[in-house]
Symmetry: C2
Subunit: 343 residues, 2 copies
């Protein structure tokens, strides 16, 4: 029966209560709380016991008030929210970041900046120091929010390479180019030579890189690049369908397609089947993302898996390092070829 517990209900114990309980001063308790340097083993032990007995939990507001740190970080999603929220990978990313941060006992604030108003409010919120750093998921290259945050000196890690921003912004991305290379090499290994491609939007790094990987491998293999085999889409299912139709019209002898996203690949499958081409016998199809759609498609889609779990872990690691004073860093993670029925 400790005094501090039997007395008044309600108000949680403070560092003062713990100090009294342990027979030491506030300072000593604080030192134990923050790493325990310059604390005698006896005091250490007494404080820990007192903490356990009182059920003390540090008041983060009081701490933040004086340290200036908030010990929380923001997960910022800018622009077209629907698209990200519909993307199953986004969930993995969000969950991964939350869990990685939880291990450091850091809460994650979810921030959605869809409208101009929200953008302003959130930028203000962040620059006011309410979070120590930001995990940024932005479709836009050269996002104005990112720009502002960078200028305000807020530690920032982007998911995917942000183009348009200065080089001094951290990011973690999958190796799009290498993933594309793997897929095209795989298609070549099946004996296909007339390989089409439906690219992503060419104003995004992903779109550009995947196309680059495609071209590189063909060139290395001595296969001529035929512009009639290249069409671009916008990652939507419909654009995949349209793209495949254009390819069939421009290059009827096509025997494989590398599609820069699984969603588009689904559209491609639809278009091919409608045109009477069998997959994979007549035309092999390779996707990108390894989204859940890849397995529900028929035939099941061969695709490139992006390591979303690792991406989230790395984003958190890099961000925390940056908050700790390290320089911005870029991390590129390897992708993986997942073979299924469509090739």
């Amino acid at each position: 029966m400790t005094m501090s517990n039997t007395g008044g209900r309600r108000r949680p114990p403070t560092i003062h209560d713990v100090a009294r309980e342990a027979g030491v001063s506030r300072g000593t308790v604080s030192r134990v709380l923050n790493g325990g340097h310059y604390v005698s083993p006896a005091a250490q032990e007494a404080v820990n016991a007192a903490i356990r007995r009182t059920g003390y939990v540090v008041n983060r507001h009081a701490r933040s008030l004086i340290t200036g740190r908030s010990d929380s970080i923001g997960f910022l999603l800018t622009e077209p929210q629907e698209r990200f929220f519909e993307d199953p990978n986004f969930n993995v990313l969000l969950r991964g970041c939350t869990q990685a941060l939880a291990q450091h006992d850091i809460p994650l604030l979810l921030m959605l900046a869809g409208t101009e108003d929200e953008r302003r409010r959130i930028t203000r919120y962040i620059t006011a120091g309410h979070v120590d750093g930001v995990l940024l998921v932005s479709s836009h290259s050269g996002d104005p929010v990112a720009q502002e945050l960078r200028e305000a000196g807020v530690p920032l890690v982007a998911c995917g390479k942000p183009i348009g921003l200065g080089s001094k912004v951290s990011y973690v991305a999958a190796d799009d180019r290498d993933g594309a290379r793997d897929m095209v090499r795989h298609l070549l290994s099946l004996g296909r030579r007339r390989i089409g491609v439906v690219t992503g939007p060419l104003d995004t790094p992903g779109g550009v890189e995947r196309l680059a990987g495609y071209k590189e491998v063909l060139t290395e293999a001595g296969v001529e690049i035929d512009e009639r085999l290249i069409v671009s889409g916008d990652y939507s299912r419909a654009s995949g369908e349209a793209g495949a139709e254009r390819l069939l019209a421009q290059a009827p002898d096509m025997d494989a397609v590398f599609v820069a996203s699984d969603l588009m690949a689904q559209g491609v499958l639809t278009a091919l089947q409608r045109a009477g081409r069998r997959v994979p016998q007549d035309v092999a199809v390779g996707g990108f993302d390894d989204s859940p759609a890849a397995v529900t498609a028929s035939p099941e889609l061969t695709t490139i898996r992006q390591p979303w779990d690792r991406i989230s872990a790395e984003m958190v690691r890099v961000l925390l390092a940056q908050i700790g004073g390290e320089d911005p860093a870029a991390v590129i993670l390897p992708t993986e070829l997942v073979k299924r029925e469509s090739t």
Copy 2:
């Protein structure tokens, strides 16, 4: 050119700076910040101008330290995270809550309590007063976390009716029973009489209610309840497939199925097509949820839409009311029948 800006870089303006700038006292600025009661229009104006000029943003830590409120709320997901994260409705819910809270300038903390460890940590975090209230998404009925939080007096709103908890816990749910009734009535209106059902798990309110609605409508319509037409699933696609096979075996004359989730309904479609039954000519199929899968299914699925956007908005409203001192409340929202090709 204000003094406060030209001087030292870095440190953000405080309420003191604003007071000096506006020629009033801290107290007056504080009053303006908190509703502006008992403030003369002149002072009001001066303070607002000063705030704008200095770019002042309130320091929430200092405020929280004294008010005891944190002005932030938690979005708590307990137990099997994967399932929720894969459910597209979950995204709508999360997004809706975030946005609704943003309108009140309240940040949302994402909290995932998957493991026992995380559970403990998060419960501690919450009961330490780091959030003012919790939006709970729990699959489990009688969730231990919910129980603990309730006992600690933390304002709480659950998504879906929690069973096992006392009646004094707030929740917001779709009207499962009424949704089921609508669907079965719809099937009846098509002239179907041998209507099967694949229920959800019968230890969840949703599962129970949807089955109850089914039975009610049939009874009202004078159609006999045939136990051979009732099988239960677990919301998974596979269980839908298995359920349909069982139904076909037990009641080959079945001319319609009400399936308690879209995912299961997809399985049902697969099984029916494999058995050579045409949908909707031979067997009409009705789902539940209106998930994106409903439109990608072929034929497109007639289903019951749950008003997730409204659910999230109501959850936030009820929670804020409860934080403001109101009593717990239960809100049941109407569903909507969405007719597509499968009926």
